[in-house]
């Protein structure tokens, strides 16, 4: 699971109001190279919750992202490369996503998060 996916997901258990961002529990992490496409990364910038990405990247052991950003930074190749790395190349292979409100764990196995709810959570 890349942090792009992490940035899109929240806990959708019935009644949960603050299901985002999900915490990361890391058993096994990897770096998976993805071809850099500057247009794609620029496009994603406006759609990403920046703070959630910075914190998720930190828990994955990557601390090179600035805390504060504005769109002028998109001119810098260096910044785009870091953003690309954090968004698409940090990969959680085994672990779990944790709901910030209920503590419910959504397991991540073989890189695939299981977001399906149990009968009593729907």
């Amino acid at each position: 699971m890349r942090l792009l996916t992490h940035n899109m997901l929240s806990c959708n258990i019935k009644g949960v109001t603050n299901g985002f961002p999900l915490g990361l529990e890391i058993t096994k992490r990897e770096i998976k190279e993805v071809e850099f496409n500057s247009d794609f990364v620029r496009n994603m910038f406006a759609k990403i919750e920046w703070k959630a990405l910075v914190n998720a990247a930190k828990s994955m052991g990557y601390e090179e992202l600035p805390e504060e950003v504005d769109s002028s930074m998109l001119e810098s190749d260096e910044f785009l490369k870091r953003f690309h790395h954090a968004l698409l190349e940090l990969h959680l292979e085994e672990g779990a996503l944790v709901c910030p409100e209920t503590g419910r764990q959504f397991p991540v196995v073989k890189g695939i998060p299981n977001m399906l709810l149990n009968e009593d959570e729907v």
Binding site: N7, L88, G111, L116
Partner: protein, 439 residues
Amino acid sequence: MSITCISWHLKYFLGKLRPNIFNCPTAGILVKGIYELWGEGGSYEELEDAIKSYPDDLKAPYMSSDCTFRIIIDSFGNSLTFPEQNERILKFAYIPFKGKVNLKKPDHKFWVMETDDHGSTNGLPPVAEKRIFFGREIGTADRKLLPTYQLKSRKYLGPTAMDAEMAFLMANQALAAPGKLVYDPFVGTGSILVAAAHFGAITMGADIDIRVVRDGRGPDCNVWSNFKQYGLPMPVGLLRADNNLPPWRPGLKEMFDAIICDPPYGVRAGGRKSGGRKLLKGVVAPYTVPDDKKIGHIPSTAPYSLAECVHDLLDLAAQMLVMGGRLVYFYPVLKENASSKPCFPEHPCFSLIAVSEQILSFRYSRILLTMVKTGSYTKEVAEEATKMHLDFKENHLKWLEEGSLLHSGVFCPNDLQTDVVRESKSNSDPSRKYRGKYV
């Protein structure tokens, strides 16, 4: 026949094609090639006159002494032997080529295409009249594309894996290209995303069946390996999620450039969503999972009808597609009442731009719908959608019980069953249940 003829007559259609086809003719799936027509005629004499009257200034750049060429003979409805082909090539001696012939790597390829009017039609409709075309090749489709991706050589397949040619057509309809993010909410073995990834798109997929996406058939036979097999970039995200209850964070919108999918419509595979059947009917109180059983618990799923599935899909697409983004999906139709025009799902945010039918059997077709997002997903639309969704869910139970079922429509249509047969059937098999019965 149509495919070959399309390229032969292509000059009439060029204006309507995808504008970038000239930059990227290899992306063509149904187009075999694009040619500059120098002349056509009913006989080689007529063809000669036509080629001679084609403007010299258009021909000159390809006939100079510093470029090489070759002539290729292509015939339809007949195969020509090498001596016959040579004889035809020599007839073109009147074209003043100054360059040398190079059969292996010519700078320019010229094609002679002839249709045949001989008696045997090979079971095809007879050709009305013999036509011969002569043209310069501008570009040809990548003919290795389909043999490379054909399903029979793919490692991991499911019962509903999308045929390679169809997947490429779908990816083309969705304008999959480098830098675009393409999502398939019913990803299965990834057969549609493979085509999108081939065109350079970044892919994401979800499926409710964890076995399909995660386990596959072993360590090197799963969704990931299908991408590895072709040297394509892996999807940047795969998740197990329910299309009926998508786990997107609040406020997330306009993430995807295209959504391409083949929703489960219950003929080969039935759709499932969260919630057990008893839960759905509201007969028994919701099941609570005991704490000690929570790890590794497999939640039960309920049937997910096509109507509800498409409803959810349109709403997801309205929210998650960028403006101008495309939703491309298959929609099944029963052709029982041929007179009435089929009506397709609508949504205030979308315009339907293409309807392409694939006939599957005498009474059943599926239609590839291409929709473009033309209106933004405003608060009003979202509220309206939620309201419709609730109404829909309420009526849906009735709908399920009334039993307007696609599966039964395809496999045991009422018009072939007299009441007697139906009665005896229900007597012998009172609990006729199959997965996906409720489409």
